[in-house]
């Protein structure tokens, strides 16, 4: 028996599952709320961290720690603002889907690439001053009790862990950005 692929495709048995317009609208609304909550959770996590450092600043008797906490609060605020900015710059999903495939896929990947490759600037950068100030405050306050050298030596594990965490975040993002860049280049050559 011979099979014409076009006829096979177009005559395949389809059991339609039509949705009422009201159901479509209700699902669209649910999706909108889900996305809204996903964003809110990120901002709430940022707000929680800010409240924590504000509390620490209040209970800390030393001005050095209070200053470090203030820098950390400002840094977290800056990250939240950067997140908000980047999200508001991203095109709305409803419009994005109507782009041709080349623009749709490439824009999506380029946006993700921009986020990942600039993580040092918008995510790590803003909290660096606060973290550095926090470590310096710890060394300064400890040096009053045990001397400067011992204070520095004692804080080395903390400095090492913090540095490793930040470097780890940076490295993971750069690795993902590199993979995305390769995918972008592959797609660009496909759509050329």
């Amino acid at each position: 028996m011979k099979h014409d692929p076009k006829s096979l495709w177009n005559k395949q048995e389809i059991i339609m599952s039509p949705l009422a317009l009201s159901e479509i609208k209700s699902q669209a609304l649910k999706m909108h709320h889900r996305l809204l909550w996903r964003d809110r959770i990120e901002y709430l996590a940022g707000l929680f961290c800010m409240m924590l450092f504000i509390f620490l600043a209040f209970i800390s008797p030393e001005w050095t720690f209070r200053a470090a906490c203030a820098l950390l609060v400002a840094g977290i605020g800056c990250i939240c603002y950067n997140l908000y900015q980047r999200k508001s710059e991203a095109p709305d999903d409803s419009i994005r889907f109507a782009a041709n495939s080349a623009d749709f896929h490439l824009d999506q990947l380029r946006h993700q690439y921009a986020m990942l490759s600039s993580v040092g600037k918008w995510y790590i950068g803003p909290i660096l001053p606060g973290m550095a100030a926090f470590l310096m405050a710890a060394i300064y306050e400890a040096s009053k009790q045990v001397g400067t050298l011992n204070a520095i030596l004692g804080s080395l594990p903390g400095i090492a862990v913090s540095t490793l965490i930040l470097l780890g975040i940076y490295w993971l993002n750069m690795r993902a950005a590199k993979k995305l860049k390769e995918r972008i280049e592959t797609l660009e050559s496909y759509f050329e």
């Binding site: 177009n10 389809i14 339609m16 599952s17 317009l21 669209a28 889907f97 041709n100 896929h105 050329e192």
Partner: protein, 173 residues
């Protein structure tokens, strides 16, 4: 632009009535499992309704619908990562040699083979083969995909060869 909801609803209703079956077929091209394909169909319908809020008539309604449907489908594939090894249409021989289709094959088996073939392609090529099977013109495929006309001709030529080698005397290459 379809600023008001009534116009958005009208465009959606028109699209659902005219292209509902195409959307169902397309969903099966991106997801073989019938239940999951139904979810994908709903996802496409929701995206379609939302998209009509921004429809300004800059392209044909059919082009708009195909774009939204395929972009949602491709996003679904990327999210689920359920694809096996994805081939380019240029690597068609890998698929053609994959199995020997018996000369006497049932309609269902042939359809399953067609689906298997589609599912093994990378999303971009999958889109082109489905548009070709839907009898969409090369010019409109170019508008939907963003590929240039020359590239589309080459792809369609390869698709015809691929289908001919898999379906014996289907469409001539």
């Amino acid at each position: 632009m379809a600023h008001n909801t009534a116009e958005q609803d009208r465009l959606y209703s028109e699209a659902a009535a005219s292209y509902g079956i195409m959307i169902e077929r397309l969903a099966r091209g991106y997801e073989y499992d019938a239940d999951k394909a139904r979810d994908l169909v709903q996802e496409i319908h929701v995206a379609l309704w939302r998209s009509f809020a921004g429809f300004a008539g800059e392209c044909a309604l059919s082009t708009w619908i195909y774009r939204v449907a395929h972009n949602v489908g491709a996003t679904y594939v990327a999210k689920t990562r359920r694809t096996n090894i994805l081939n380019n249409v240029e690597d068609a021989d890998i698929i053609a040699d994959d199995s020997d289709l018996e000369k006497e094959v049932t309609h269902e088996r042939a359809l399953r083979k067609l689906h298997n073939l589609i599912h093994r392609l990378a999303p971009q090529d999958r889109q082109i083969i489905m548009l070709y099977l839907e009898d969409v013109s090369a010019r409109e495929i170019a508008d939907i995909t963003g590929l240039n006309a020359g590239n589309i001709s080459v792809k369609i030529h390869r698709i015809k060869q691929l289908l001919a080698s898999n379906f014996a005397e289907g469409e001539p290459a």
